[in-house]
């Protein structure tokens, strides 16, 4: 890779060990993907939940944080993804002091690195959405796919270490979605019927992700008339990224890089694949469980927006969560604070549900809290979360938000 003077100085250790490590790490990754050089980034966003970090990752962060401030502070604004423990509510979930201690150590290290602990996977709805064409280094696949696709920013999927390296140096290797040629459509889908509700959008996203099946495929959709809402796009993208490791989509006539089909195609467009109701029901059928008793109902993945929180509160009005069932709602600290002020959190909690701040259900020791609480049958309106949790010992099922609330209240999936 071609380095400029500042990058050579960082690699030589002249700007401290954290930046030396960062450049070395990114060069190793950049070489794998034939990056010619680095590209400056305006923001970084790091996934660093303690379940993923483990002792090894936390000790690594602490090692960086032990350097002098001038060497360890991040060079560009850097945000965090949801945490593994909500320190205001972990014992009732069955999380241990050991988990909480790991969390406290992570927060202390990240704070010393100058990272803004936003603890959010919906930063594009709540903190600082990137601008079209802006290069960024984001963790969380849902954040990346939304910002690439809906906002026209440029980011690869950045795992925690690489996002941190980008934050420390203000740059990332120029490969993948930082290059025009990797943002062109390689797959084309014609959608016969506009999805309904957040779950409907999630199902469509999951199906397209599964059909693409690779980081390097870029789908373009036709047949969607008019802009979906931000929350619909959020569930659509998160599910697509989860099922397919897909970081970018275009919707002709809707998303900014695709005013029309031709704009995202080099030469003749790819052969079209039609998506019909049967295809969507096929994916949904993997997560059906009508009539079953339900142990836990989860609203998360991605964290809920103000609008989703208000809707959950409305659906719970005058109702009470069943004594045998738990209802867990995960949102960002920002949204939780606002919804607290607006009385929304109080209404949700008054019905017997739990609102967790700054976590997301699947990255907060889902296996351990499932075992501690005896939760196996899980219901959610998130296509992403039902895709993930099968490997964590759950039997996940999918339903729309309204049916999820009814299930939480009756203890049984409608």
């Amino acid at each position: 890779m071609k380095l400029n003077g500042e990058e050579r100085a960082m690699l030589a250790g002249d700007m401290g060990e954290p930046r030396r490590w960062a450049v070395e790490h990114m060069m190793e990754v950049g070489r794998m993907f034939d990056a010619a050089d680095f590209v400056p980034v305006a923001q970084a966003h790091m996934m660093a939940d303690t379940e993923s970090l483990g002792e090894a990752g936390v000790a690594f962060l602490e090692g960086l944080a032990a350097h002098p401030p001038a060497e360890r502070r991040v060079a560009v604004p850097m945000l965090t993804d949801p945490r593994g423990v909500d320190l205001s509510y972990y014992r009732p979930l069955g999380q241990t002091e050991e988990m909480a201690d790991l969390e406290r150590r992570t927060i202390a290290a990240c704070t010393d690195l100058g990272i803004l602990m936003t603890d959010s996977c919906v930063t594009y709805q709540t903190i600082m959405p990137p601008v079209r064409g802006e290069h960024v280094a984001y963790g969380d696949t849902g954040v990346v796919i939304y910002c690439n696709s809906v906002l026209g920013a440029r980011s690869n999927f950045e795992g925690g270490p690489s996002a941190l390296a980008a934050g420390l140096t203000g740059r990332t290797p120029r490969y993948g979605l930082h290059l025009d040629r990797n943002r062109r459509a390689t797959r084309r889908f014609i959608v016969g019927e506009r999805p309904e509700g957040l779950t409907g959008w999630g199902v469509l996203g999951g199906l397209i992700g599964r059909l693409c099946g690779s980081y390097w495929e870029v789908p373009v959709l036709e047949g969607i008339e008019g802009a979906p809402t931000s929350d619909e796009m959020k569930h659509f993208g998160a599910a697509m990224a989860s099922f397919g490791s897909t970081p970018l989509f275009h919707i002709a006539g809707v998303t900014p890089e695709a005013p029309d089909l031709e704009s995202v195609c080099d030469g003749p467009p790819p052969e079209p694949v039609e998506i019909g109701r049967k295809d969507l029901e096929g994916l949904r059928g993997n997560f059906g469980a009508s009539g079953d008793e339900v142990d836990v109902v989860v609203f998360a993945a991605p964290q809920l927006s103000h609008v989703e929180m208000a809707r959950v509160a409305e659906l719970l009005e005058g109702r009470r969560v069943h004594e045998r069932t738990a209802l867990v709602v995960c949102t960002s600290p920002t949204v939780a604070a606002d919804c607290g002020r607006l009385g929304i959190v109080g209404r949700i909690e008054a019905a017997g549900a739990v609102v967790l701040r700054g976590t997301c259900f699947y990255n907060q020791y889902a296996r351990e809290i499932g075992e501690a609480n005896g939760w196996t049958r899980l219901l959610s309106n998130s296509v992403k979360i039902v895709n993930i949790l099968g490997g964590y010992g759950y039997r996940p099922a999918l339903a729309g938000m309204e049916d999820c609330v009814t299930a939480a209240v009756t203890g049984r999936i409608p």
Binding site: M47, S52, G54, A56, G159, S162, Y215
Partner: protein
């Protein structure tokens, strides 16, 4: 007899190990019980099998960013694969391998790597050279 398979130069050190192969995808978060060292996702083609010290041979990476931290944690606890070979890696698994010091290669010249290597094959993975050698297996005709 050996089968030599050329690929894009990869990440991590040269290692030798026994292959565990499936025409399936991979995420450390979605598919593994990292405390037991086994594939735990019921629908995965390697469900129930141990991945510890094996050379995993799979189609591609899927899902989220967590694997980038997890590979190092798995390595430090001694419950990790020796190497991972993909038809196509994603950025996360490459970053995770770099952070963990784990061997990882992809983009094989001779086609689908999950068909070129079989479970139980003894393989040498040489990422800097972009070469995977399958011991005791004839060259392709």
């Amino acid at each position: 007899m050996t089968l030599r398979l050329r690929c894009h130069p990869g990440i991590g050190p040269r290692v030798e190990g026994e292959a565990l192969v499936a025409a399936d995808d991979f995420s450390a978060r979605y598919d593994l019980d990292r405390l037991a060292g086994t594939f735990s996702r019921p629908g995965h083609k390697l469900a129930g099998l141990s991945y510890v010290d094996r050379v995993l041979v799979l189609n591609t990476a899927k899902g989220g960013v967590a694997s980038a931290w997890m590979l190092r944690e798995m390595t430090e606890r001694g419950l990790a694969p020796k190497a991972i070979l993909f038809n196509a890696a994603n950025t996360i698994l490459a970053q995770g391998a770099a952070f963990a010091g784990m061997a990882l290669c992809d983009r094989f010249e001779d086609g689908d790597i999950t068909r070129l290597i079989a479970t139980g094959d003894r393989v040498i993975v040489d990422p800097p050279a972009g070469l995977v050698t399958v011991l005791g297996k004839a060259e392709r005709s």
